[in-house]
Every structure is written in C-alpha cells, then in structure tokens.
Symmetry: C2
Subunit: 600 residues, 2 copies
C-alpha cells in the first residue's frame, strides 16, 4: 500500500498559523467567493480561503497577505464555496467498481468524503478483503473511511459465506488507521434479542470510541425497535417514512436518509424537517447503493443534495446534512465537513446553491476535478491473486448439474417458487404445479430455474430451485457472482445447457455477470476483483452493465431494476423466499423448505 | 481513590435491551412526564423513562411492562423531564471548595456534568495536584470531567509558580480515565506565534482524540485571532460581544458564553442566536467562575439557563446549550446530554421550563436532590499532607520585610502604582509622588502597600510595591493565598505590622484569606487544600467569605467585587500593572519596571 499521506492538523499547525498571521505564503488561495458556512448556516459574501499543507489556514475577507510568488491563486469569481460533500453510508461494491475507480467516478460530482462498509467483499474474502478495500481507500486523493462489516454471514446457519466476521476481527480492525466504526448492524433481531456475538462487536467498537452503524429494516417501532436502540447502533438508514425518521432522531440516533440508484427514501422522510420543523442536526444524507450507471449519468451526493432541495429543504440545511452533520456523527467535525481552519481543504466551487453545478472540486488543497472531469490520479491497490481468483467452481458444470429430479413415477409436482415482485426487495413464496418429463421437473410458463452455484470452497455443489416473474422466454441463462450477501453464483435460466454455459463462463473470467441466449453470449460484465468489482473505469463498466440490462430485456424481461432483483435472490434476510447454498429458505420462519412437494 | 464506578453502555447493553423489550424489570421508572427532547428540540407529552444500571433503557409512551416488584417508580405528574445540566467550562477552585463540596453545592441546582479545568491547583501542586482533583472528581455521584491545565505558569519568565506543566505532563494526563481534554489555552499570544511548547500541548491533546479548550482574551479579531484558531483550540469563552460569538462560531469553534459570579457575557452574545438567527448548535452555556456565595444563594447552571431565557432565548434552545451542545462538543453525546437510551440517567424534573425550578435531580438513575436538598454522599478524597500544607513561608515575617527603602537622601519619590479599577479586571499603570520618612517610602492617601509573599519554596522572599483604589484607611492588612495564577500570597495593607501579622496568620492556618484591622482579626476564611479550597460545606465557606467581604468594607473598601480585585493583582497576563514574585510587571510590554523612580 502506498498510503496517500498528508500532515495531521497538529503536524501542520505551525505552518497554518504562519499563513493565517500573514508570515508565510499559502500554498493556495481561493479568492473572492461566497463562504457557505455550515456551522452558522450562513452565506457570507466576499471571502478568501488560504490553504497550506492540504488544510485550511484561514477564511478571511482578504487573504492577499497570504499570497506569495509560488502561491496558486484560484479565482472564485463570486461563486459559492461549499465543503466537499460527504456520503454518510454507502457500499463501494454496489458500483461494481474498486475504491479507486469509484473515487474517480464521484470526484467530479463533488464527493470528497465517503463512509463505506465493504461488507460484500467481507463475505467473499473476510478480514483480508476488508483490509484490501481499506488499503486502496487510503491511497485515494479523497477521504474514504471504512466501516468494519458487522454481519458476515448475514444469517448464520442459513448460508455458508466465504468467510465469517467475528468480534475478534472487529476488535482488530478498530486499530487500523482507516476504520471509522462498525458497518451497518443488519442483524437487528439479534441486537433486539441481545445476541452475544452482535453485542460483542458493538462493544468492541464503542470501546474503541468509534461509531456503530445501524440497519433497522422493520416498520415496527415498538419494543423491538426500543431494544435495538438500547443495543447501541448510532444511526439508521433503513427508514422509509417520516415516522421512521422522527423515531430515530428522538431516540438519539442519527437518521440517514438515502437516495441510491434504487432507493427513494429522502422525499418521504425529509418532511420531518421541512414540515414538522425538527432540529435538522441529526439528519444525514447518503446513497447506500449506487450503480456505476447512476454515477456516470446522474451524479452522486450532488444528486442527493439537489433532490433534498427539490423536496423543499432549505439549501443550507441540505448542505449541512451532507457535510457537517455527517462529520459530527463520525467524530470528524474538526477534520472535514466545513470550510474552517485546520480542516482538510475540501472545497467545491458552484455558481448556484439550488441546481448545484459542481464546477471545481478541490481536495486537500489540490484541484481534483473541473467541469465534470477528474484531473487526479486515483491509485490502484495491487490486488493479489487471492482477490482476483475467487470463483472456485471445483469442476466444469454440465446440464445434469441443473436438472431437478422428480419423485419416481410422478407426472407433475407442486413446486415452491420464489416470486419476484417488481420494484420490491421482498419476494413472494408462490406455489406452482409443474410437469415432469424424462424424470425431471420442467420449468414452464412464467416459471424458470434458479441455481445457487457454490464458488467459495470449490465443492462443485449446485442448489436448484424455481423462480418466477422475470418473463424470460426462449433458451437463455443469466449468471452473476454478485449474489448478496454470500456472493456465491446465482444462475437463472430457462434451459439447463445455457445455465451450465453461463456458470462456466463466469468461472473462466473470474466472476461478473453474463447472459446467454440461443447459445450466444449477449453480454458480459467482468468483475475480476472478488467477483464483485471491476478495476476498469466507471464509464466502461456502466456501458457493459447497460448492455447486460439490454440483454435481459432481449430475453423477455421487462422488470424495472431487473438486475437488482437477480442479485438479491440469495439475500436470506429479506422475506419471503430465497435460495442459499444450503437450500430454499423461507425467510418468514428462517426454515429450509423443500423445492418440490408431491401433489396432494 | 474509591472511584464511583458504574457499567459502561457496552457493559450494560444486554440489561438495557432486556428492559427495553419488556423482558426484565427496570431499576427505576419515571412515569408520566413531558419528554424534553434536545435532539429534535421538542416537548413530547406523556412519556415514561425506564432506567437500569444507571442508564436509560428506553423512553416510551408506556413503560408499565418495565415495572417489576422491585422497580422504583417516580411519578413525574406531568412535569418536564429535562437532561441534567452541563457546565461547559468552569474552575472548581473558584468556589473555594473541593470537588466533593462543589458537587454537593451544585447538585440541588441540577448540574450533573461539569467540565472543569483545575489550573489553580496545577500552579501550586503541579501534575500531582491535578491528579488529586481528578481522583476526587471520579468519586462523585455526578459527572466531573477534568481538563488538563495547559498554562502553568501563565506567563513564563514573569513569575515562579509552585510547579510547571509540560507537554509531557499533558501527554501523560491524556491517558487518565477522567481527562476529557486540554484546559483553556490562555497563552493566546503564544499560540498565535506558534510557541512550540503550546503547540506540543495542543498536539498531545489532539493526538489523543480529545478536545482543546480555548481562551482568546482579546478584542482583536484580525490575524492574531486567525492564528489562534489555526492553532487548534476548539472553543472559547472569552468573548464579550455579539461579534466575538459570531466570529468564533463561523471559524468552527464553539462559542461558550458565561454567566459566572462576576462574568456577564450571555446577554451581549446570545443575540447571535436570538436576533441574528444563526444555527445555535455551536453555542454553549457555562459559568467559568462561581463563588460559593453564588452557589448557595443563586444557583449554578440553572441560573445560567434561566438568564439565557430571560435574554429572549427559546427555552428549548437554551436547554440545548446546556446539555446536548456541550456533550457533543466533548465527544460525549452518546453518554450524557439527552434523555435517550444508553445515556447516563441524569434527569431533572421541573414544573416550568422558563423559571426552571429544580424539583428533583436524578443522576445515574438515583434521586440525588429534591427541592433544593442534596440527598447523596459526595465522598472526600483523602488529601495528603502535601496538599494540606502548601504555605511554605521560610520564616516568620516581620514589619521590616514589608518596608520599601527610599534612595539615600530622597525626601520623596515617584512610585509606579497598580491602579485598581472598579468592575474591571485590567488595572491601570499609575504614578504617584510619595513621601519618604525614616528612609522608607510611605504609602499615603489612596495608595497603600502590596506585597507578594513567596510561599511555594520557602525562600522567605517578599516583593513589595504599591496599589491604589481599595479605599482602605486606618491600620489594616488583608492577605490571601488565592493569588491568580501563581498563588503565592498577596498582602495588601496600610501598615507593615499588620501586613506581617496577616501573612504569618495564613502561614499558621495553611492558607486562605485573612483581614486584620487595628490589630484585630476581623475575618478568616481557611482554605487548607493547596491554600485554595476548603473541604467544608459551601454554606459555611460562603458565610465566612461574606464576613471577609464585610471586613473589607469595614476597612473602608467600597469597591464592587473587591475580593476578586485583590486576588487578581498577581495575574501577570492581564494589563496593565501586576505584581509577581519576580517584581512589578508591566503587562503591556511584558517587562519588569521599578517600583520607585527618582523625582525628575
């Protein structure tokens, strides 16, 4: 790791003082801007910012005395100077990009600080994988703080992940330089029931003086919620309505409200501020999950802030929710999140606070993007083979691996089928009567096959079941090694030959997403890092993802967010039916159920 | 030290969850109150608070399920439930009381958290003295967080203190359990000039992740202020006008506004919120210095909050400034400062938010005061002899020690005289022509003598000079071992016999304040701990202090706050003239000047 180092405030103090008092020239001076002050919630016209050692030395009406012959002067030309934007909760893996390429994609959008939970890679590569994400994060020209994943596996006993995270892992990670806290504590029933392992992870984080991320994905605001709050999580981003946001803030948590590629939870919750008039200091904006296509086409935290403003939020309050509120939450308010002395010089120049065009982005005192173009190197970690070769198939799969045998003599069976519902993460537990030919159960009509291909331990095991709702017709198969949260391989198809072909293809390229139709590969997104991420630029990955989604449509799928539906089919913590390497899971009861039953 | 221990949040988590989910009974339930929520800035009627292990388990509309046979139930009867009040910056020594007796005095006023800088004792006993204060603080039933003193001596080279504080001392103290940060960085010219010792102390604090207290006692908001801010102090309580408060908050510091016994800086600064409408999150209420008389007769933080409300501040905002704002500033917002799960159960019951009667005070779940009466033990540290015998006179002083010799043959001289100004901390540098008789200069008219008696190293040294403005007449002398900041002994008198008598009397009793007139001891306040504090109850100390102030009036002094004027005459960081063990100091130039000059 070649960590991007720069002086701490105490290391830089003497230099900052010399600049602030006019005794030494600044490295950089931004002249003549409108100072957006997120501490006082004011816009102050006619200010200069003097920068040294990557930090702000002073913000004064006239920093001419800080300008020396070598000082770089940036003319603000009366534009607004706002703090670099902070994403309070997000997963880099959701962009299918490495931290470096994710950073490169969001820098032109003004995101200079990210609080990221690498829990996808934790399932594939364990603590080592988290460390690699952490190390690449520290190499970047912007601030990527890592949260230590808390829940791998997400549902112990219901799936086998590549690795498990223990309280000892958490305690160890808390000593790493780039770890800011514990990643979202998704096992909310565990916390409400005082599960010792979950409480031990929380304790290790609290004892290290760091922030415990929450994830309370339930509308129940009764005793279960009270128990979760008493357990210690300090924030939550799973609220979906105003009552959720208010309950969290009243109980002393920070309410993180998200606008991701497929999350729309800002509009329904920000009314706690805009209509109910609550103190906004405990509300934080975040993205949670953004696809590369969103990053390329729409933006990142700038998109969230704009949206909050469009929802009626005062622009200064919306900016506080993406800067100082976030910094304060993570104990970093004297390090990032405002344009004041000592802080990292992360500054955006914009000519309008409402439409928020991101014209110039400065991080640690250097211009890193201008007019949508990233101008800075985002160094790549030297990902080892262990991270690049994570699709352990055990053997080449054949059509037989995907055939679902029928009970002897049966002509038809009743099948428990995972029912995909458009625009909803939960699935339905459906039952279909399916015919039997040549001794195997046939997927027909709207039902097709789904398989979970074990890929962590090369067991060669394939778990087969049925899924409905994608609308596929004709011989096809789609395979993905992005398969939340265990990230084995999910193969969905209408034809067992195509399913074997798709699975083997991902084994060959080291992971990603592939679609075959009529024997032809329609699309391939290579994700060589842990089978989850690409180290190619976001534009390239987004283009391939677009092809992939077009290929899904070409196979007959008209669902909105169809790829997300595919990749979530193994997420055994969201009801009702899911598939894991251990079988078909009824998440309502956390029990395994048979794929086929005799017709009664 | 018998530290008052109670479980941390992680230690208590399982129990808190069990109570919050109705599976275990609470230790205590407060039923039927109005929940003053300082996170959302709301009052919510009809809430219960369930408490276990000294912490809040849940705050819910109905905690009946948390009441078991052994649960103590407190009826709120519809009263307001507010968080225990926090004093953001204060000195315990100013009350002339030990931490235990200070706590006992303020508990009935609802103060449950104090951020205290024991910098007076640091001058007398060094790091050991700070540790004793720290240890007694940790024994108390309320929260006394200590800040490590930063500036002993306050003016290096201009005085000799009992001990000096080094950056190494600061680094060591940061590891103690009860140290919350660095005490007010009073050497503001040092910071603005990047004094390496001051920056090393700040760095040791920042590197420990703790809060650096500020003290910028200058109206200059130009480059000197910018340099100070760049140096790292995170707050300041020396502002006196609205512009001061605004400048501090804009620059990312917290503005602490104080109402002490003799400080009236709330009314002039709170307009930044009440009139200018700035975000109030960065304003904090504090007392800085309260005499025991104020504690007995008027109150403590309740007095400050009431005053802020009287100044037009919304009561909920004023309460935020004395609770969550303070907690957040010191990184304790998940420990104190609000009535939410996991936090220490520090609760006040009051029937009116504006007049703020402190009816019941609960700390860590126990009722500790009711209707003005403290109901709890405040244990005393076993102060060692080294702390009780700190008046090292070297010898019995006689009248000759106080005689100021005249140049041979002079009949009169010009004397540089410290001019006390009523109601102002700064003095004036005055000159008087004084007569000479029997070879010594005579104090006449409004001029009397002042002496600084060395008491730390038993040198027997006495520094003599002149002071005007007290109005004393007739033979008298007053001596005090409270003598900011070096805390030698200040003796002021009209007669050298009385001066010797007063000084020797304090040597005899181990420190305090004494007044003699016409050969009779009019008043004595014994302060045996470091010559600064009494371990007797506040009522007793306040009564003796009243006698002492009456005795000053009986000697002819009509000044307001006359005792404070006396005790500040050695404070060699406030202009214009002061006395130290090294001579007469012109604080405008930081130079020693002669006491007498020949008549020109």
């Amino acid at each position: 790791m070649t960590q991007k180092t720069f002086p701490t405030w105490p290391e830089a103090a003497a230099q900052l003082i010399a600049v602030a008092t006019g005794q030494s020239p600044a490295d950089t001076v931004i002249q003549g801007g409108k100072w957006v002050n997120v501490h006082t919630r004011e816009v102050l016209d006619g200010y200069d910012i003097a920068i040294a050692a990557g930090r702000i030395a002073c913000v004064v009406p006239d920093a001419a005395s800080c300008v020396g012959p070598k000082t770089k002067v940036i003319q603000a030309h009366g534009r607004y100077m706002i703090p670099g934007l902070c994403d309070g909760h997000m997963h880099i893996e959701s962009g299918m990009l490495t931290p470096a390429e994710f950073a490169r994609a969001v820098i032109p959008h003004g995101t200079t600080s990210m609080f990221t939970d690498p829990h996808e890679i934790a399932n594939v590569l364990g603590l080592d994988g988290v460390r690699m994400m952490h190390d690449e994060a520290l190499m970047q020209p912007v601030n990527i703080f890592n949260q230590m994943p808390s829940c791998a596996p997400s549902a112990p006993g219901m799936e086998t992940t590549g690795f498990e995270i223990s309280p000892e892992d958490v305690a160890e990670a808390m000593q790493w330089p780039g770890i800011i806290g514990l990643g979202e504590m998704m096992n909310f029933p565990g916390v409400s029931n005082a599960d010792p392992k979950m409480l031990a992870e929380i304790a290790a984080t609290q004892n290290a003086g760091k922030t415990v991320g929450g994830h309370y994905a339930s509308p129940d605001l009764g005793p279960a919620f009270a128990g979760y709050v008493a357990g210690g999580p300090a924030d939550d981003h799973e609220g979906t309505c105003e009552a959720d946001a208010i309950a969290r803030m009243r109980q002393g948590m920070r309410s993180m409200i998200r606008l991701g590629s497929a999350w729309y939870d800002v509009e329904t919750q920000i009314t706690a501020i805009t209509e109910k008039g609550l103190d906004p200091r405990n509300m934080i904006l975040c993205t949670d999950d953004c696809h590369s296509g969103t990053l390329v086409g729409e933006g990142h935290m700038n998109r969230v802030v704009r949206h909050a403003i469009d929802c009626g939020c005062d622009p200064l309050v919306a900016l506080q929710m993406a800067t100082i509120n976030t910094a304060t939450h993570f104990g970093l308010e004297r390090e990032i999140g405002s344009l004041t002395p000592g802080r990292r010089a992360d500054v955006i120049l914009t000519s309008d606070l409402k439409s928020l065009p991101i014209e110039t982005v400065i991080a640690r005192g250097e211009i890193i993007a201008e007019d949508g173009t990233c101008l800075v190197d985002c160094p790549h970690f030297d990902w080892p083979d262990a991270a690049r070769q994570t699709v352990h198939m055990g053997k080449a799969l054949g059509p037989d691996d995907f055939k679902i045998p029928a009970p002897t003599g049966a002509n038809a069976v009743r099948a428990n089928v995972i029912g995909v519902v458009e625009n909803q993460a939960p699935t339905k537990a459906l039952q279909f009567e399916l015919p039997v030919t040549e001794g195997r159960v046939q997927a027909t009509g709207e039902v097709c096959q789904i398989a979970l291909v074990e890929r962590h331990r090369a067991t060669g095991a394939v778990t087969n079941a049925f899924v409905s709702g994608f609308g596929y017709d004709g011989p096809m198969a789609m395979a993905s090694t992005v398969a939340h949260d265990s990230h084995h391989m999910i193969v969905v198809g209408t034809d067992v030959d195509h399913m074997a072909q798709a699975a083997n293809r991902l084994g060959e390229v080291g992971g990603g997403i592939v679609i075959f139709k009529d024997g032809v590969e329609l699309a391939l997104v290579e994700l060589p890092i842990a089978g989850l991420m690409s180290d190619r630029p976001a534009t390239e990955v987004a283009a391939k993802a677009d092809q992939m989604m077009q290929a899904m449509r070409d196979c007959g799928c008209t669902l909105n967010n169809a790829y997300m539906q595919h990749s979530l089919l193994a997420l055994v913590v969201i009801p009702e039916l899911r598939i894991s390497d251990l079988g078909l899971v009824d998440v309502r009861s956390f029990e395994f159920i048979p794929v086929i039953e005799p017709l009664s």
